[in-house]
Amino acid sequence: MAHPFLKKDDDLDEEDEYSPFLGIEKSAVLQEARVFNDPQLDSRRCSQAIIKLLYLLNQGETFTKIEATDVFFSVTKLFQSKDSGLRRLVYLMIKELSPCADEVIIVTSSLMKDMNSKIDMYRANAIRVLCRITDGTLLTQIERYLKQAIVDKNPVVASAALVSGIHILQSNPEIVRRWSNEVQEAIQSRAALVQFHALSLLHQIKQNDRLAINKLVTSLTKGVVRSPLAQCLLIRYASQAAQESSFNSQTGDRPFYDFLEACLRHKADMVTFEAARAITELSGVTNRELTPAITVLQLFLNSSKPVLRFAAIRTLNKVAMTHPLSISGCNIDMESLISDQNRSIATLAITTLLKTGNESSIDRLMKQITNFMSDIADEFKIVVVEAIRSLCLKFPLKYRSLMNFLSSILREEGGFEYKKAIVDSIVILIRDIPDAKENGLFHLCEFIEDCEFTYLSTQILHFLGNEGPKTSDPSKYIRYIYNRVVLENATVRAGAVSALAKFGAIVDSLKPRIFTLLKRCLFDSDDEVRDRATLYLNMLEGDVVGETGNDVKEFLFGSLNVPLANLESSLQNYVPSEESFDIHSVSKEVKSQTISEKKSQSKKANPLGAPSASLATHVDAYERLLSSIPEFSNFGLLFKSSDPVELTEAETEYAVNVVKHIYDEHIVFQYNCTNTISEQLLEDVSVVVDTSEAEEFSELLSKPLKSLHYDSPGQTFVAFEKPQGVSSTGNFSNTLKFIVKEVDPSTGESDEGVEDEYQLEDVEVTAADYMKKIGVSNFKNAWESIGDDCERIDEYGLGVRDSLKEAVSAVIDILGMQPCEGTEAVSNNSRSHTCLLSGVFIGNVKVLVRLSFGIDGPKQVAMKLAVRSEAEAVSDAIHEIVASG
């Protein structure tokens, strides 16, 4: 890629492909650079050589250390030339070569001479070059000149010094701080850009002195700032200052708001936009404050310039997340943007409209989107599909038109990812909106009639097999499924056979028909299809007339009960012999990492898989595992399972993590253990728990693990009793006890074994363990509908915190609740924040929390906590959690 032009040798004959750098080569150019050393400099030839060097560097060519040093030294000779054009190139070249410290010394004196030159252009450039390549030691020598340059009457020189100051401030702040008088003077400059650079530098010099900043901003907002760029900066500083002080003065008048509002009438678009954006980002902005900003943005929406339209719609899109109602006045303008040439603008317009839309406007919106969908790229379509999915969950009553929309785009052209996003959305809607089920299944049936993706076909068939038999008229799905058996490839045919069998097992009236269909499949050309058909026929045959046995249903609908990874490895190890493969020999122990893997994929995971969403898989897997243990069967419904908590350091002999399962009156610790020593076999593995720091808990039973082989994880359980419905907390210390046996890896024989112990880290049960993260779609409605009967409000000081962000996430973690409406995101530099949380507390009590945070100068954080729930005791409990956390 370094010589893109060399590769074009074959079309040399094309006249317009001619380049002045055609066939250029590094070695030849380096040779040419020797002219720099001539005693009689030919400035034209020297310029030519430098341009060629710059060209090579720009194309990504690299010079070796020796080459670079060589070029650098010869370039320094060019300072002798009086040719100003050549001098400019020399400056550029020195910056590109970024010489090392001992080389810098060579040019220092030349550059310092230029810094004091009578020619402004030399002064400005020499300052920029010298400040770029120099280190701290030299700075003290040139500081005097830099201070002078800042107040130079030539604006280019002043800007060069100020911008260099901004860069030097990062590495040598103490030097630059001494310049504030000069910088202050430069702010008054009549040159626009000098004012901009001076303001930026002065603000950074004083950034830790809030009082000085406030004074600076206040005086400038009253004065005249000439450059639009400087005005934009001032707006940023003013809104920062406003954020910082808003928490203290809750009188209603927001400092600097009048200034921001006045900037909305500035003649430069960049300033009006900056001000409008700043207003929308004020924390806790009111609708009245928003209105003038929205009006400006609305005007931009109709601009002929794409950049303006984009900037406006992007800002409105953000406002829509927090204040959807305040921008409903722009809906008509945004609808016209759906057909915008710029697809980024169109997509932003759609997703904004989907957020602001109310129930009545959905139908009209859908009609417009339908036209738009045909001519945008798949990546944009996926964004739209996701927005529609969340809209549908927000307005379940509108499922019919949204579902129809999804099915119509499902029929159109599109790639796999896009189709998958649509199918996933339909499946989620079917799951969450019961009324939409039949309609949705029907759309999926239609889709597989003409689906080119085997993966999607088999997933849908599986889903149909699970959901279809439970509908009011299962028979209508049979035709769609059987069509697949006739028309598709072997993988899909096999999936269809399984789906048919499920209908046969559940719906007795359909059984004879299913039988006939399955019998036809016995003559299929593919082994797998024939095998499945034979298997299912035999299973269903047992009781053609009577009710199908539970084992059959269990076989068809239940999962294998063994982790697939374990089954796969057991099958690979199985040697064909007289003895048939025994599925019970497969280890049932879930590798804990497979669960965490699933979790990490949960966002992208396909919701069609066996039990729908993967989040559900996670919980379902636990539920199934626990209910298979008879001792736990009378504990009732599992309320919540925690994420695994590691109890050992990484890479120790035994790796153990714990999952806490919460029941109404019980708590079960599931210890997932892995033995990482190949020469050892552990037997009788159990965990001894000391509950002296957890008084409300009493140990009920412990379920040891018989044996723990190398690298195949196993679980041991300990169950406790606790008072009903109460969020008891405590600290549990754990010791792993086991009999360790030495194993000879070659023979597999083991010795007698000795008892041993291994200290694990403590497990803590906190109040957050009793809280299930359950979001609400419309917090305001939920908040009002729950009422203030059980409301509890109090204020807390949280002490000194790194940032507001850190404080907010700490409180969310302590409470273990679900943040709503994206309020967990705290914008940088904001001084106050409101966070909305929802959850379900043990005993199935719905809880809503509104947190208001504020941070002051020395990083002291204060918080107001308002809780509403369905029970007073729970509201109090939440306060207790915070008070003790």
Binding site: V156, Q170, L233
Partner: protein, 177 residues
């Protein structure tokens, strides 16, 4: 430099996405490969748009890019996604117009390569390590043109004979290669 507007790169590519002149001001792209990959993806994503009359804008991978095309040259300016789009567009406009002035409205790849020194100096006068130096096309072109920075004669108002002289000088230079 928390709240100062920052430019991450300025790119000038040809109609096949190859470099004419590029300058990176941030370390978001650490290697030459990352830079080339970014240029390719920007070029491909904007290729089909019509950015010839008005500057266009796009957002991807956490960057905002404004761009404008003329003849076989594609101009791009990139910044972080939180940047004020209009500030960015003023940088692009300054770059675009200054190049047009410097190339005497003959804005195409061939001429740009023949005057590569002017293009590189032009970028150097617009942004210094990410900080915007100047956005006014006349001033930029005036600083690049070798007759000094005192700005007594705005570049666009040079007399015909002056302009011709500069043009002749550049033409001669490229012929003498």
């Amino acid at each position: 430099m928390d709240s100062c507007p920052l430019v991450k790169n300025i790119l000038l590519l040809d109609s096949e996405g190859r470099r004419v002149a590029v300058k990176y001001f941030s370390d978001d792209w650490a290697t030459q490969g990352a830079k080339l990959a970014y240029e390719k993806s920007v070029f491909m994503k904007t290729l089909k748009t019509n950015a010839r009359t008005e500057a266009e804008i796009s957002m991807f991978d956490g960057f905002v890019v404004v761009y404008k095309f003329v003849n076989d040259l594609h101009f791009f300016v990139t910044a972080g996604e939180e940047e004020n789009e209009l500030i960015l567009s003023s940088v692009l406009q300054g770059f675009f117009d200054a190049v047009a002035l410097l190339l005497r409205n003959d804005v195409e790849k061939q001429i740009a390569l023949e005057n590569l020194d002017l293009i590189l100096l032009c970028i150097d006068e617009i942004v210094d390590r990410g900080i915007i130096l100047e956005t006014d096309a006349d001033t930029i072109a005036g600083k690049v043109a070798t007759n000094g920075v005192d700005g007594s004669v705005p570049f666009s108002e040079q007399t015909i004979s002056q302009a011709l002289a500069t043009a002749r000088e550049h033409l001669a230079r490229s012929l003498l290669k």
